[in-house]
Amino acid sequence: MEVFWFIAGNWASIVELALEHITIVGVAVGFAIVAGVPIGIAITQNQSIANAVLYIASIIVTIPSIALFGLMIPILSTIGHGIGWLPAVIAILLYSLLPIIRNTHTAITNVDPALREAARGMGMTSMQRLTRVEIPIAVPVIMAGVRTAVVMNIGVAAIAAYIGAGGLGVLISRGISQTDPRQLITGAIAVSLLAIFADWTLLKLQKLLTPSGLTH
């Protein structure tokens, strides 16, 4: 009940924090898509490079987020952004690379070789093959990678409140430091709801982007 009154009384600031949260994850994953999809496509050309890249990307994911934030403080301090929004975005971008690169790589490599051969034999250039055949067919799997990245990093972004990035994590960290269960619970619920909502929205988007010929 108290939580309810807290939410009702602080509705505006909760929404503001949620928007901050969405912005951090959105910007970071957005850049991760811009970087990760081309990387995922490029590494299909060479299996050993692909293995190396995927290995590095999975090592990054194993670094605990707190440690990653800590690592970035001295580096980004040199440009005056040791804490705050920028390190949060960079950390989430790095975490997002693995699912996006991996799914892109898998999806493109799994395109039926017969389709690739038909496309080549019909006289498509490698660019045409990519944009007209391989990427459209890979879209559902790439989008699944994006979803994974978003859901996983909504949690990471909550921790970024500790380095002053803002977002819903602020409620949680304040709840802990002020021993205020209302804020703590509100923050936890809000983060979970955001994750569920994001997953659902992205699933809809994934269906929308999937070529109709590929749906079942």
């Binding site: 051969e117 038909a118 019909m122 006289g123 498509m124 007209r132 055949v133 070529p211 010929g213």
Partner: protein
């Protein structure tokens, strides 16, 4: 015209060097279908893919209409060669129409004529454009997909077509139907076609010429009839099968060996007239035709000699007739089914067109040259 000159391809594999094509020489004249035939792994696909440079030859040349394909831009070359792969390979993310329009659009056609072309081609293979143009490949049956695969290759009207077991992934009945459709189209389109098959029956049916491969070499390159009647060695004879003589039945139609001179008379004719006609022809049977010239019955010389009344009084109904266009396999089958030594043939309008006899069939098969008898 497609010319292969000393075409050779070797693959370096961990288990050693594989020679997939070994100094292959052959010429496919413009407008003909050449079938590459042979057991699995003999190099048919490799030979085919070297033509559109999906595989680079190790040595040797390929000329299309006299021009060395190595000197041409590979992308442009491929756009001018229709290519049908065995796995069909329709793009699942595109509609049937989009699939067919791929090459025309890459060649710079406007959307409108490309779409019109797609509709025209769909119609040509007996599918309803309204129904099929906007469907996706997964919504088509195997046979329909195969047809679309073929017309996609035909879309930009390429003079040369490469077809790798194009009717492989389909049941025998539908395969026969599509083969016939394709031959009908080819009769007007006159493409120069390289066609891979591992099925001797298909090769005999589709090919103007057949090249039999073994281990990357051509064992024999000849007309279907020559391959069946004169296999050059035991391998070819074995490959085409012990029933190769019977297979030749497919190469000849009833009209090619029918005797059109067999007398035909109306029911109302007098026996005397019929006898005279039979005598002039030298046979022992007359065919009785109806008012529309359709063969309906027959009578023998023995029954008619000294008889009175009309021919109709002595006639027996014909047990069966065959279309003059039918191949001899169908004719012989009909003869055996009805236990008769001869059958009357009919033309497209059902009119009497002559008589095929078992001796004529045997004589045709016995001919060493394979040139059918022409009476």
């Amino acid at each position: 015209m497609i010319q292969l000159e000393n075409l050779t391809k070797t693959f370096e594999t961990p288990r050693g060097v594989v020679v997939a094509a070994d100094k292959v020489n052959m010429t496919v004249p413009t407008g003909e279908i050449c079938v590459l035939l042979g057991p699995s792994g003999c190099g048919k696909t490799t030979a085919l893919k070297m033509i559109n440079r999906l595989i680079r030859p190790t040595s040797g040349r390929i000329l299309i209409n006299g021009e060395d394909t190595a000197d041409r831009n590979t992308i442009e070359l491929r756009r001018q060669i229709g290519y049908v792969i065995q796995q069909i390979g329709l793009f699942p993310n595109m509609t049937v129409e989009e699939n067919i329009c791929v090459v025309p659009r890459m060649l710079g056609w406007e959307a409108k004529p490309a779409k019109a072309r797609a509709a025209e081609l769909i119609d040509l293979v007996g599918l309803d454009p309204h129904h099929f143009l906007y469907r996706y490949p997964k919504e088509l049956s195997g046979g329909q997909q195969q047809r679309i695969g073929v017309i996609r290759a035909l879309a930009a009207d390429p003079p040369v077509m490469l077809m790798d077991e194009p009717f492989g992934a389909i049941d025998p009945i539908n395969r026969e139907i599509i083969q016939n459709e394709f031959l009908k189209m080819q009769a007007t389109l006159k493409k120069t076609i390289m066609f891979v098959s591992h099925d001797i029956d298909e090769a005999v049916k589709m090919g103007d010429k057949i090249a039999i491969f073994r281990g990357g070499r051509i064992e024999q390159y000849d007309t279907p009839d020559r391959i069946l009647s004169h296999p050059v060695n035991a391998f070819v004879a074995d490959f085409v099968g012990a029933d190769r003589t019977l297979k030749r039945l497919r190469l000849v139609t009833a009209e090619m060996i029918a005797d059109p001179g067999t007398p035909a008379v109306a029911r109302g004719a007098r026996p005397q007239e019929a006898l005279q006609a039979a005598k002039a022809h030298g046979g022992r049977t007359v065919i009785v035709i109806d008012a529309n010239h359709r063969p309906v019955a027959y009578a023998t010389v023995e029954e008619l000699s000294g008889a009175h009344g009309t021919v109709g009084d002595f006639a027996h109904p014909l047990p069966a007739t065959v279309p003059a266009r039918a191949d001899l396999r169908a004719v012989v089958s009909e003869m055996f089914a009805n236990d008769v030594m001869w059958l009357a043939c009919t033309d497209d309008q059902g009119r009497f067109a002559g008589v095929v006899t078992q001796p004529a069939v045997t004589a045709m098969l016995g001919q060493s040259s394979g040139q059918p008898l022409t009476n």
